[in-house]
């Protein structure tokens, strides 16, 4: 029974847990109305968009995806007003239906929602320091992330992103003459790890073939590195992912592989995907 559970259920469970941990143990002061708006806003938008674009399909299973998006928004996006969160939720959900190519959306919904309201409204921000750099949280993300990624077969993306980003930061540390604790401090950031495990790995919007995903991860790591260290953008990861998202289409055209589908995903298909890639 447990084996056949949709990986999205795990993801919802973990993201919900992180939200509780953030509020309970990490001193986050989230407005309850804003969190509720994210959850309800995403669900309602999902139902409306689904009824317009895919009227023949049962919209209920897709609410799991919308819940993942809303939890992602609640975890990452900070705002003074629920209306800003509603806008983020709307952009996030509709991006899945509007920015499509060959029946695949190429923006990570939560990411595009965040970037849209942070740049357009002046009423939203992301707190990259919100998790701190504790081992405990590092391990919590790693354990939860590995479980979900093993199920969807996208661990390669996380590893490639983290490894290439770590290498670039290490090279810069050596060049600048920083002691290794500076590098360790950067790499231990809970926000970076959460991004690497839960956002950059969204199987629906990232390239399908493994080689393409590896290239894609390294490109995003490079963009993050440049934005953070040379343009001094504290939440560089989100902008890097946003800018590089359309690259998915080109990479998919170069390396072809079957599209990811939550519904078709079962333990056996997972093994097959691995072999094909």
């Amino acid at each position: 029974m447990i084996k056949s559970l949709d990986p999205r259920v795990y993801q919802i469970g973990f993201l919900g847990l992180f939200l509780l941990v953030g509020i309970g143990a990490r001193d986050w002061s989230l407005q309850p109305m804003v969190v509720a708006t994210a959850i309800i806003g995403c669900a309602v938008n999902q139902l409306i968009a689904k009824s317009i674009f895919q009227p023949k399909e049962n919209p209920l299973p897709s609410l799991q995806s919308s819940l993942i998006t809303s939890l992602g928004l609640a975890l990452l996006l900070r705002t003074n007003h629920p209306t800003t969160m509603l806008l983020a939720a709307t952009v996030a959900i509709w991006s899945k239906f509007l920015f499509r190519w060959d029946d695949k959306h190429f923006f990570n919904p939560a990411n595009i929602g965040i970037v849209a309201v942070v740049t357009l409204t002046g009423d939203a921000w992301v707190s990259p320091g919100q998790w701190g750099e504790d081992w405990l949280y590092f391990l919590m993300f790693l354990a939860a992330g590995s479980l979900v990624l093993k199920k969807v077969g996208r661990w390669d993306t996380s590893v490639a992103f983290l490894a290439s980003y770590a290498a670039m930061e290490a090279a810069r540390s050596i060049y600048l003459g920083w002691t290794w604790d500076v590098w360790a401090h950067k790499m231990m950031s809970g926000s970076l790890l959460m991004f690497a495990l839960f956002m950059v790995t969204d199987p629906r919007s990232i390239p399908n073939a493994r080689s393409a995903r590896l290239v894609w991860s390294v490109v995003i790591a490079g963009a993050t590195f440049i934005l953070r260290n040379y343009y001094y953008v504290p939440s560089a990861v989100f902008y890097a992912l946003f800018i590089m998202s359309p690259l998915t289409l080109i990479l998919d055209a170069i390396w072809s592989a079957p599209k990811f589908s939550w519904e078709k995903l079962r333990p056996f298909t997972f093994n097959k995907t691995k072999l094909e890639a």
Partner: protein, 448 residues
């Protein structure tokens, strides 16, 4: 799939919504701010560095209080800055404005006086006032460029009693040697810390004192230096300061922004404990209480967070520890956006750092967060006058319970023993002998 959704997602949503409701109750609890009694200013913390950072878009005006303890002739200040600056970008800051912002934003003790439970309630009001000051005029510049040991003097000038050099360097060893041979007493091991700044192509703002000017100006203490620059780098270098630190160092930064709260992007920003009701006797030494509370929070957070002590629009406060800074004072603090009609939001961050816990310099980020926050502790004075009504007994019981809760709170915040604290509490019953003994039943619980 539908069943699965019912099984997993619905309970999760209910948990989240339940949490939402709990949180909303907590948020409503703090509605009144009480009367200001006293505060814990930055002076409490030995060797606390204080800076004011006024920041909008890519422009920063940094005011550095000079807390230098030794002889004035030995004073030397080396600050890495993102870009080279000219004479007109350096100014003498005002010590008063740093004091003012410190007092305005310090953690505070507020008090409430219980009304006589035997009389109907009445209302109380607070008043506020403002005062203004003058901006110090700039001094003439002096320029003599030269270069040796890979060190280039980008600019050299005098600002009142300060002799300023703007340096760029190719090698950190060269810079260290140059500074030593030119009479700047910099700590050993500086070159290792200077290297990353040189490689990032940062410049160095170097200041020492012209003793003649210092004496002529009749100064007894060092005045703050104020520098203005344009750069997307919104950070504060703290690593150089660690070199001559004996242990943990305190930094209090008053960050002014037209947008809203400022937070640290590469460390957690944590609010200091606030809103707790604490016993009346804390008034006797509020400073000691806050110092202990801060230290305890610092240890609890593993010594690697920045503490938020205050965040508020500067135009108002509640309760006010002093009058809000007026436009002249804000100008002195470096606020340069007032003419455009923008508001000013102040964030007071208190960072206690040491070499092994703060590897990286502090990187800040402006947010549009408009939430007000203050480190505020509440003291309740029971009504100690004569009470002659039946409500008095119930009131005395309430006070006794409240006093016990206050002791618990204080013990939790400071780690002091609750038993010792209890001895210092002035119970209400002793001060108020019950007048109508006959009104009290012998066996209250036996009543129907």
């Amino acid at each position: 799939m539908k069943n699965l959704f019912n099984l997993i997602c619905k309970p999760l949503i209910s948990i989240l919504l339940a949490l939402v409701l709990i949180l909303s109750n907590v948020a409503e609890a703090n509605a009144f701010c009480g009367f200001y009694v006293g505060g814990a200013d930055a002076k409490l913390f030995n060797e606390a560095s204080q800076v004011i950072i006024a920041h909008k878009d890519n422009k920063t005006i940094l005011t550095m209080a000079n807390d230098f303890q030794g002889a004035v002739k030995d004073f030397a200040l080396v600050v890495p800055i993102p870009v080279a600056i000219k004479r007109e970008q350096v100014n003498i800051g005002s010590t008063e404005i740093i004091k003012k912002l410190d007092t305005f934003s310090q953690p505070r003790l507020v008090e409430y006086n219980d009304p006589n439970p035997c009389e109907p309630p009445r209302h109380v009001f607070e008043s506020s006032g403002r005062f203004s000051g003058a901006i110090p005029p700039p001094a003439p510049a002096l320029s003599k460029p030269r270069s040796s040991l890979g060190v280039t003097i980008e600019d050299q000038f005098k600002v009142k009693e300060f002799e300023i050099l703007i340096l760029s360097a190719k090698e950190s060893d060269g810079l260290e040697t140059w500074l030593r041979t030119n009479g700047y007493q910099i700590p050993k091991g500086a070159s290792e810390v200077l290297k990353p700044y040189i490689r990032q192509k940062m410049k160095f703002f170097v200041a020492k004192i012209d003793l003649k000017e210092f004496k002529k100006a009749g100064q007894t203490t060092l005045r703050p230096l104020q520098i203005a620059y344009q750069s997307p780098k919104f950070m504060l270098p703290i690593r150089l300061g660690m070199l001559n630190a004996k242990g943990d160092q305190d930094l209090v930064a008053y960050i002014l922004s037209p947008k809203g709260q400022v937070e640290v992007a590469n460390y957690r920003t944590v609010k200091v404990p606030t809103g707790q009701e604490i016993p009346e006797f804390v008034k006797e030494d509020f400073g000691k209480f806050y110092k202990t509370t801060f230290q305890r929070s610092y240890e609890k957070e593993n010594k690697k967070v920045a503490f938020l002590e205050y965040a508020w629009d500067v135009s108002n406060c509640d309760p006010c520890s002093t009058t809000p800074p007026d436009s002249d004072e804000l100008k002195k603090a470096g606020v340069f956006w007032q003419e455009g009609g923008d508001r000013t939001f102040i964030t007071r961050l208190h960072v206690r750092y040491s070499r092994n816990k703060f590897a990286e310099d502090l990187v800040f980020q402006e947010t549009s967060n408009q939430d007000n926050f203050q480190g505020r502790y509440v003291m309740n004075h029971p009504f100690r006058g004569t009470m002659t009504c039946s409500a008095a007994n119930q009131y005395r019981q309430q006070v006794s319970k409240r006093q016990e809760k206050e002791v618990q709170n204080l013990s939790q915040l400071t780690g002091w023993s609750a038993a010792d604290l209890r001895k210092r509490v002035k119970p209400l019953i002793a001060a108020n002998p019950i007048k109508k003994v006959n009104d009290q039943p012998f066996w209250p619980w036996a009543k129907p």
